[in-house]
Structures are given as C-alpha cells and as structure tokens.
C-alpha cells in the first residue's frame, strides 16, 4: 500500500516538471509582460521600470528564468506575485481552500442526488421516472456551466433568496463563528449546484447502467433463490457492487470540475483557484500562473490517487500492489 502511494507520488514529479516547462514556454511565446501597462503610463519613471525588469530578469530567455525559478522552488520558494507583490504561496493559501471546498461540495452534492436517482431509475426501468430522469441527465450534460451560472445569478437577482456572487457578505467580519459558517453556506449553495449539475448526470448514468448489469448477474439470482429479501438483495448485494465504478469515475469528474470552476468562479465572482489562474494569465503574472496551474494539476492527481485508494478499500478484489 505505502509503496503504491510512493510510486504514484514519484510519477507526479516528471508530470509537474513537464507542466511547468510548458507554462514557461507558453508565457514566453506570448508577447509583452506584466509591465506593459506600467510602460504606457507616463507618470511611472523609466528607471523604476528598468529596475523592475532587472529584478524579475525579464530580459533573460525563458530557460534561464525557468532554472532560477526551479532552484527557488526546490528550496520551497514559489516566487512572488509581480502584481500583488506578495508571495505566491500566500495567494495560493487563500484560494485553494475555496476551490477545494467548492469541488468537494459539488462532488458530494452530485453523489447524494445521483445515487438514489440512478438506483430508482434502474429498479423501475422504463417507468415514467426512468424516462424523466434520463431526459434530465441529457439536459444536465448539455447545458454549458457558464450559462447555468448566468441563470443562477439571474435567479438570485430576481428572487433575492441567494447572494449573486462572492464567498462572504460585507458584514462577515462582525459575525459570530456560526454566523460566519452560515454566511459561507448561504454563498456556496448556488455555485455548488451549478458546478455539480453536470456531474449529477454523469454519476447517474453510470449508476443506472451498473445497477442494471448487477441485477442480472448470477449472484443476485442465487440470493433471490435462497429467499433473501428483495430489499436486502438490492441494497446489500447489488448496490454494494454497483457503487465501485462511481468511485473510479470521480477522478475524471474532478478534472471536469476544475475546468468548470474557472467559468463558474468567474461568473459568480467566487474567489477560488480558477479565478486566480484566469486573472494571472490575463495580466501575465508568470509565477502565479505556473504555481496555480501546477496546484490545479496536483489537486487533480491527488484526487485520482484518493479515488484509487477508496476503490481498493471498497472493492476487495482490487490489489494495488500488483499493478
């Protein structure tokens, strides 16, 4: 088990190196740098810009800068944001928890809705419920996240039931601990539903298909023949097996969530990693982009690792050591 985890961590290293090189190259291909805005303003002295250029080694080719950066990273220094003038780690430290919470809540929301719906659709196959839920799955898979986010903002603006964006309200600082939690929760409802909607549909389809597979399998017939109660057959024998593929699909779903969070966070003004990456890319804040993209990929890989471990735990037939 431990050697499996260690090996997975080792394979992450070349991937992260590759991603950082790629981001550096792409940022180098893009013309201009973060000082472009400063250069056009006449009240900023030329010496200041020169000093900045020197400080950030902007004149050097990308590979020189890459190795300087890599040297710093090995020592645990991810660099400084050129625009905010704060360490990148500090920025990430603010943003990652927000995106983690949002992604985790979205997956949980998706599972809580999708498992019962998938099971019911499979048990009552071809019923009205099955048809309606499969239509719903088509719709949820086809609606663009950012359009759904726009609709959610519109809904919030029209009804006033939910805030139209952000993570906390203005008076957040003056609330009690529970008041703050409630405030966060209130702000998280709409982003969670918007981001999780596509996953609900994916999970539901997988759940239904697997449940149907296992209903027809031999051990279910055996259990029924032995006179096991129908409820027990469904929820102990079938559900227990059919839930495993959901776990392994979670890695893929996390990837779509991270992509989707860029859009949803932008529309709903949610201060997460996606918004940070987008802003930093637009303003060519190199170190922030590299670090944030890498963190996104690390989250994705860790998510995949956790999904594999969970799968091994929930499905004893899988042996991690052998693959």
């Amino acid at each position: 088990m431990l050697s499996f985890i260690a090996r997975r961590f080792l394979t992450m290293i070349p991937l992260l190196l590759g991603i950082s090189v790629l981001v550096f190259i792409l940022m180098a291909i893009a013309p201009g740098d973060f000082l472009d805005v400063a250069r056009t303003q006449e009240d900023i002295p030329a010496e200041y810009i020169e000093r900045m250029e020197e400080e950030f080694a902007l004149g050097e080719p990308w590979h020189t800068r890459y190795f300087i950066w890599l040297g710093n990273v090995v020592q645990g220094n991810l660099g400084e944001s050129w625009i905010y003038r704060v360490p990148v780690t500090e920025l990430l430290w603010q943003r990652i928890p927000a995106t983690l919470v949002l992604s985790a809540l979205s997956i949980m929301f998706a599972l809580c809705v999708a498992i019962p719906m998938g099971v019911l659709a499979a048990i009552y196959k071809d019923s009205i419920f099955d048809r309606v839920s499969s239509m719903f799955a088509y719709a949820a898979l086809s609606i663009p996240e950012f359009f759904l986010a726009l609709l959610a903002v519109m809904f919030a603006a029209q009804t006033g039931w939910f805030p139209t964006g952000g993570l906390s309200s203005v008076e957040h600082e003056f609330m009690s601990f529970w008041g703050r939690m409630a405030d966060y929760a209130h702000h998280l409802v709409l982003p969670t539903i918007v981001l999780g909607m596509g996953s609900v549909a994916s999970y539901m389809r997988i759940m239904r298909a697997n449940f149907l597979d296992y209903i027809r399998s031999d051990f279910v017939t055996t259990a029924r023949a032995k006179g096991v109660a129908e409820g027990r057959v469904m929820f102990v024998h079938v559900l227990r097996n059919a839930i495993n593929p959901l776990v392994s699909a979670s890695g893929f779903i996390l990837a779509t969530l991270l992509s989707g969070s860029i859009l949803v966070e932008n529309v709903m003004n949610y201060p997460g990693l996606g918004q940070l990456i987008f802003e930093a890319l637009m303003r060519q804040d190199e170190f922030v982009v590299v670090a944030a993209v890498m963190m996104g990929c690390v989250m994705l890989m860790l998510g995949n690792l956790i999904a594999d471990l969970l799968l091994a735990w929930s499905d004893p037939r899988i042996r991690l050591e052998k693959n």
Binding site: L26, A30, S142, F147, M154, A157, L258, V267
Partner: protein, 350 residues
Amino acid sequence: MLKHLFKEITRRPMGVACLAILAFLYLGTIFSQFLAPYLPTDQDLANAYHPPTRIVLEDWRPHVQVYEQVDPAAARYEPVEGETAPVNFFTAGEQYRFWGLVPAEMRLFQVEEPHRIYLLGSDGTGRDVFSRLLYGAQVSLSIGFIGICITMTLGFLVGGVAGYFGGKTDFLAMRLVEFIIAVPSLYLLIALRGALAEHFEPEQMYLVIVIILSLIGWAGAARIIRGMALSLRQRPFVLAAEVMGQSSLRILFRHFLPNLASYLLVAATLSIPAYILAEAALSFLGLGIQEPGTSWGLMLQQAQELKVFTLNMWWLLTPGAAIFITVITFNMLGDVLRDIVDPRQQIVKR
C-alpha cells in the same frame, strides 16, 4: 455504410427528431444573411435593451407594435396604443455578400425605418439579438465540424501508428497523451490562447480557436484508437496483408481505417458538443471571437451585466438556450448512432 446508417437513423423517432433539429439549425445558419433583418453590427443607441417586439395581425398581415421609451435609465419601453408598422417580406435592404461571394440585398422580412423589428429584443447598443444569433451560429456551429475533422485525423494517425508499430513510438505517443489529459483542459486552452493570440489578427481568432482546440482534442481519441489498433494488429487479415508485403501506410489506411470508421463516426458526433462548448467558453471569457465578429459565447459575455439580471432581460440569454439545444441534439444523435453501430453496448447498457 453511410446509406445504411441514414436508413437506420430514420427508423428511430429520436434519430429523426435530432436530424430535423440539426437540419433546421444548419439551414438557418447557411441562410443567416437572408433571414436576419439587420446586420450583426447594426447599432441603434436609441433602442438599447429593447424588449422583444410584439407582432400583431392587422388586415391579415403581420404588423410590429411600436414602442416608446419611458425611462432610458431603466431601459423601460411601453407599447404605443394603436400604432403599428407593417412587416414587409422579401424586400431589399443593406447589401451583403451571400457566403462572402454573391452580392445580394434580399431579406426575408423587414420593417420600414425608423421602426425596428426585434424578434428577440436588442442588446446594450440596440443591435438585434435575433440577427446576431443567426450570424453567431456561423461560428458556433461550424467550429465543431472543422475541429473534429482535424482532431479525428490526428487522433487516427497518432493512435493508429502508436498501436500498429508499438515500442518506442507507442511509449512516446502515450506519454504525450497522458500529459495532455492530466492537465484540466480549460487551463491548457487559456494558456495556449494567451501564447498564440497576439501573433494573429483579431479577425483570425476563429483560426486560432480551431488550432488550439485541435491541439488538445486529439489526445482522448488517440488513446482509444491505439487500444483498438492494438487488437486489430493481431487479426488474421492484417497479418495476411503484412505477409503479402503491403506497406505500413497502406495497412493503416486500407485495413485499419475501415474497421475503425464506425467508432470514429460515433466519437466524432459525441465530441462535436465539446468543441461548441469550448468555443463558447473561450468567447465567454473574452478570449475567443472578438468584436465586430459575433458568436454565441461572446453574446453571453456581453449579457453579463447586473442590469440584465436585475431588470430580467431574459432575451439576452437566448444564445445560451441556442447552445443548449445544439449540444443536446448532438449528444442524442451520438447516442442513437452508437446504438446502431454497436448494438452490443446497447445490450449491456439497456
């Protein structure tokens, strides 16, 4: 094979419905210049945020209700009782080049100036949303087709070569594929766009988007095709072709391609939505199609104003509905095709 497929599709009600909707959408796109009453850049600042105009029948002829602005700040318009303007059919308007080639000026319907017909309202500068929707479809609906043509070719070549030759080629290709898949796709899209965009003119953004979507999109297809190629390689007819001394290229195109064709077709149909959505997402973030061009994503970006939400200007969100309808139709058609091509999967899926 295509004929057989078409026949099979028309035997299923779902397939017929999907084909009909797609035909409707694409015909609208092809004739968008004829169907749209205005040019997409046609502004009218006096009629900003105009709600959809009511159509009334008078003397057996459709008339447009005339509105007057009562509150410019809140963009409130009230219908003027009893005042209408007739809708003229097949009249000449501003000149355009049909398909960029044939000069023409015929339009399906128009209203005499200074009145305006806004079937789906107007945006912040008084441009007709309906016309922009039609013109925007040219981008949004074509990008999927061009995108999949490139990526399916790339995916087939890389996947086929990797699966057929194996060894080092296979190893390298698959590491590359894994790398592309390991990064959340929108991160890569935005980064690639940032790197490429400045080297092109704003009018060439369409090309840039196609390039970056294709650069990323081939990976998934290549991986699956490699798997299929691996099993095809062991089949007797491929071995026979090898023994007969046929060249690798010939085997790839004459023996692999026909066997993978049905998979490619289904995969292509199912991945068109991904391109439509990706273009819309990029344009929505302001990174795709630029003004004065138009696409559904760009229109949604321009609708992203607090005013739109608080005053309930739902007509500005119609491009989202258009994307939704297109994507859901392609998804359903893809599923119908998969059921036809691979009935085995249907039995398992049931």
